[in-house]
């Protein structure tokens, strides 16, 4: 189930609430009380997970065909009658704070990425992390949760995707029986804030106990629905996907100044960033790595790529696209994501053709349009040998 709500819909003071909500959805409703959702599902051979992004919150259930009715009952119960037991809220607050400690405070790369995004976005809600700031995790109130539920967990803000060993008619009948009676709500207030154009490079430094430095560079990039999204996707393969990509060859293979290069774009509702995430080798000044990155971007802007290089990038992009759909889980996720973020699930079936239509000129054009210094934010992790006192 795809709910059209993510950190993009939050505001100061309640950052991270969408993600917290993702957790609360497992903590009891009217028919299935605390712990019962997971128990009932596991008792029937099913399993679940969920994830939150800047743009959406997604609930995933995997189960044998015999559990189909139960799944509808469980999903309808929590979509209509979620409870907000004070004790559960406090306990789950602890879980989420621990998730943040795990994946941000004790993960330097994510810690740096959070600061990078906070600098790259000043007005738009992509400024804050999906997990939220720790201080907000500690302070949101029950009323915040109730209001959020009312607004964003209405059926008119949600899509159900189901793939696998099912009968279409049965699914529609169950949806009518369980989901249709849940009343619609007034549509959520649209997100109207757009990020003002960046007019100069921004730089961020994070000093931390670590053995190695780290470099992340973000350029503002278009939303998923923008016609430039797929040309940039092809550019991503040319620059940093695979061991024959330009940045891997130069940074990791030839000059050996980096241990790894990663990054690229991710599909979003609003303009996001094109990221370069580079792990410099021990003892290599970060500035040297950054210089090589800038040189490679400049090359792409000044000289057209060869036909063979373009073809290679397209072939790999297409193969990777198909790989995401090897499983029924991957298929369901792709359908929902395309409908939510690309505006229409039919876009999924045009992606391969559209990748194949990207030209040499397109690649050069998007390199010149998006990868410009004024639109760049650079974040650097500076390793400190002596530990700071961070006891909590």
């Amino acid at each position: 189930m795809f709910h059209r709500v993510g950190s993009r819909n939050e505001h100061t003071g309640i950052t991270g609430l969408s993600h917290f909500f993702e957790h609360m959805m497992f903590n009891g409703a009217k028919k299935y009380g605390p712990k019962m959702f997971d128990r009932a599902m596991e008792d029937s051979g099913g399993r679940n997970n969920a994830y939150t992004s800047e743009d959406m919150t997604v609930y995933q259930d995997w189960f044998p065909p015999g559990a189909l009715r139960l799944i509808f009952d469980l999903e309808a119960d929590r979509t209509r009658d979620l409870s907000f037991d004070a004790k559960m809220v406090e306990s789950e607050r602890g879980v989420v704070a621990n998730e943040r400690r795990l994946s941000v405070e004790n993960n330097d790369r994510n810690l740096l990425g959070e600061q990078l995004m906070a600098a790259a976005f000043t007005a738009h809600p992509y400024h804050w992390p999906v997990l939220g700031w720790m201080v907000d995790i500690e302070h949101w109130q029950r009323e915040d949760l109730e209001q959020y539920y009312q607004t964003y967990y209405a059926p008119n803000n949600c899509e159900l995707v189901i793939v696998g060993d099912i009968q279409k008619d049965t699914v529609i009948q169950l949806a009518r029986e369980y989901l249709e009676p849940i009343p619609a709500q007034a549509p959520p207030r649209p997100v109207t804030t757009t990020e003002p154009e960046q007019t100069g490079e921004r730089r961020v430094r994070v000093h931390k106990f670590a053995q190695l430095p780290s470099l992340q560079v973000a350029y503002h990039s278009p939303a998923a629905v923008d016609p430039d999204y797929l040309p940039l996707n092809v550019l991503e393969y040319i620059l940093l996907k695979g061991e024959s990509s330009r940045l891997y060859r130069r940074l990791v293979d030839q000059e050996q100044v980096a241990n790894s290069v990663d990054g690229g774009q991710t599909a979003h509702l609003d303009p996001f960033v094109f990221l370069f995430d580079i792990q410099p080798r021990d003892g290599v000044p970060v500035a040297r790595v950054e210089r090589v990155l800038n040189e490679e971007i400049a090359k792409l802007q000044s000289a057209p790529v060869t036909g063979r290089e373009l073809q290679k990038a397209k072939n790999t992009a297409v193969a990777d696209f198909y790989r995401t759909m090897k499983t029924i889980d991957g298929k369901a996720n792709a359908l929902g994501t395309y409908d939510m973020v690309f505006g229409d699930y039919h876009q999924l079936f045009q992606t391969v053709d559209r990748i194949n239509q990207v030209t040499i000129a397109d690649v050069q054009r998007v390199a010149r349009k998006y990868l410009i210094p004024q639109h760049r934010t650079v974040a650097e992790l500076v390793p400190e040998k002596a530990a700071a006192e961070t006891k909590k």
């Binding site: 596991e42 997970n49 602890g94 879980v95 004790n106 061991e243 080798r281 006891k391 909590k392």
Partner: protein, 475 residues
């Protein structure tokens, strides 16, 4: 995320790089009846030089997945002080062969959107290649070239070793990525299973091209290799092609690695890895687990599902769901050629280190004191049966499974008999499994976090407490 991805333990113990990912779908039996489970039909062919081929035709998509296992190429064969040799040898296969440079190999693979991965686990080396059917001829040529005629250029070894060394320093910034290596070292000591498969900051620096070439010459042989291929091909044609490519490879007598089962830990011991900036304490504790071919494998998986193998497990209920002390707590067995580790793991804020540890131990004690109920047993059976098919949805999952069964001398009966064994499990069996496989008094503890916070807790738990700095080389 609601939970850490890859929550479930898979079948896979040997494939350290990818594991068996979550997925869905099986050869669907009639839905009216109780579902049964059988591996699809596949063919086993032994070439004259001892190479074992496992072939499963599956034509839903024009894709082919190839998975190879080299029985003699695992990290247990690493010489002392050269930890990481098996891993580097496998990693260097794609870095040049006969007439191809590393760059040409990368270009060839990327041009057709194919993947090639290779690495080492403890018991074996293994690798995989996935490609589109129309590229089969070129990709099979490439794989044979990389496996049979690797060049191991010194410059590439130098590069890869340095990358791996820096990679370890990078991983040490993220405790959850390295705690398993410290735990294996503490639990197994000088036994080959105590070795870090990927080597250490110092051992990797010592490895020379000569070491790699010798390891390959001695240990890579057709009679030690299993090649599983799943996907869109004709078996008869593929066997001919593979015979052409691999048939002339000469068998060798490979020196066996002595691998005795190690003795279980007695008493309680603790190792603290000091990471002064940590805001959480990460912990692993347990003792020896079981071997891959252990007759109780399936039964142990059922009990472990209830204790620490799923979201509503006893340990996750106590440490996460009821108390919010952690984001996740779990337990798992790592089945290997001889018994691997049994591990209970979690993490918690510094201030709740003692509370979380106490609760984890109390939960383990409760498993012994109260056992499990009939309802719990029924639920675990349904859970495992319902989620077994997704382990075998894709070509690559199936190829890895076939190769792994062959590696440990098992066959399709292990999978085909799985549901029957689950069904047959009784409460009395569960009691025996708890008594036999869940240690209570004798435990090895490993912590990563602020030593000043952990030390008082560790001293209450264990008689002997050691300390080490995270930045100190090795594990």
């Amino acid at each position: 995320m609601k939970r850490i991805p890859n929550w479930r333990g898979g079948l896979a113990a040997v494939w350290m790089m990818t594991g068996l990912a979550a997925a869905t779908g099986w050869v669907a039996p009639s839905m009216a009846q109780e579902p049964t489970l059988r591996l699809p039909e596949y063919q086993t062919v032994k070439l004259e030089n001892g190479l074992t081929l496992l072939l499963l035709e599956r034509r839903q998509l024009p894709l082919v997945s190839l998975h190879w296992v080299l029985k003699s190429g695992g990290a247990i064969a690493d010489p002392a002080g050269r930890e990481g040799l098996a891993s580097l040898t496998a990693g260097l296969l794609r870095k040049g062969a006969r007439s191809r440079t590393a760059g040409q190999v990368a270009e060839t693979l990327d041009f057709v959107g194919a993947t090639f991965e290779a690495g080492a686990g403890l018991d074996c080396a293994s690798g995989s290649c996935e490609f589109v059917k129309k590229d089969s001829a070129a990709m099979l040529d490439l794989v044979a070239d990389l496996l049979l005629h690797p060049a191991f250029p010194a410059a590439e070894l130098n590069k890869l070793a340095k990358q791996e060394i820096d990679g370890i320093k990078e991983e040490k910034a993220v405790p959850e990525q390295v705690i398993g290596r410290y735990y294996a070292g503490a639990l197994f000591g000088s036994h080959p299973y105590g070795r870090p498969v990927g080597g250490t900051e110092t051992s990797l620096a010592r490895i020379t091209r000569k070491d790699v070439a010798r390891f390959y010459e001695e240990r890579y042989a057709p009679n030690e290799m299993i090649l599983a291929v799943v996907g869109d091909f004709s078996s008869a044609e593929l066997v001919r092609r593979l015979r052409d490519l691999f048939g002339a490879w000469k068998p060798k007598s490979v020196p066996a690695v002595r691998l005795d089962p190690t003795a279980a830990v007695t008493g309680r011991h603790a190792l603290i890895i000091d990471k002064p900036d940590a805001t959480q304490t990460f912990f692993h504790f347990g003792n020896l687990g079981l071997a891959y071919t252990n007759q109780d494998r399936v039964e142990v998986e059922v009990v472990n599902t209830l204790f620490g193998g799923r979201f509503t497990s006893m340990i996750n209920t106590e440490l996460r769901i009821q108390s919010g002390l952690t984001y996740g707590a779990s337990s798992r067995f790592s089945p290997l050629r001889v018994p691997g580790a049994f591990t209970i793991s979690s993490f918690t804020p510094n201030a709740s280190t003692e509370r979380a540890m106490t609760l984890a131990l109390e939960t383990l004690k409760r498993l012994h004191d109260q056992g499990i109920t009939a309802d719990q047993l029924k639920s675990a059976k349904a859970y495992l049966k319902g989620l077994f098919p997704p382990r075998f949805e894709t070509n690559d999952q199936l190829a890895a499974t076939l190769a792994e069964l062959e590696l440990y001398g098992l066959d399709r009966k292990f999978i085909d008999g799985w549901f029957g064994r689950i069904d047959a499990l009784t409460l009395a069996d569960a009691r025996r499994i708890i008594d036999q496989y869940y240690p209570l008094e004798n435990l090895e503890f490993v912590f990563i976090g602020q030593a000043a916070v952990i030390e008082p807790v560790a001293k209450k738990l264990a008689g002997d407490v050691r300390k080490q700095a995270i930045e100190a080389p090795g594990f």
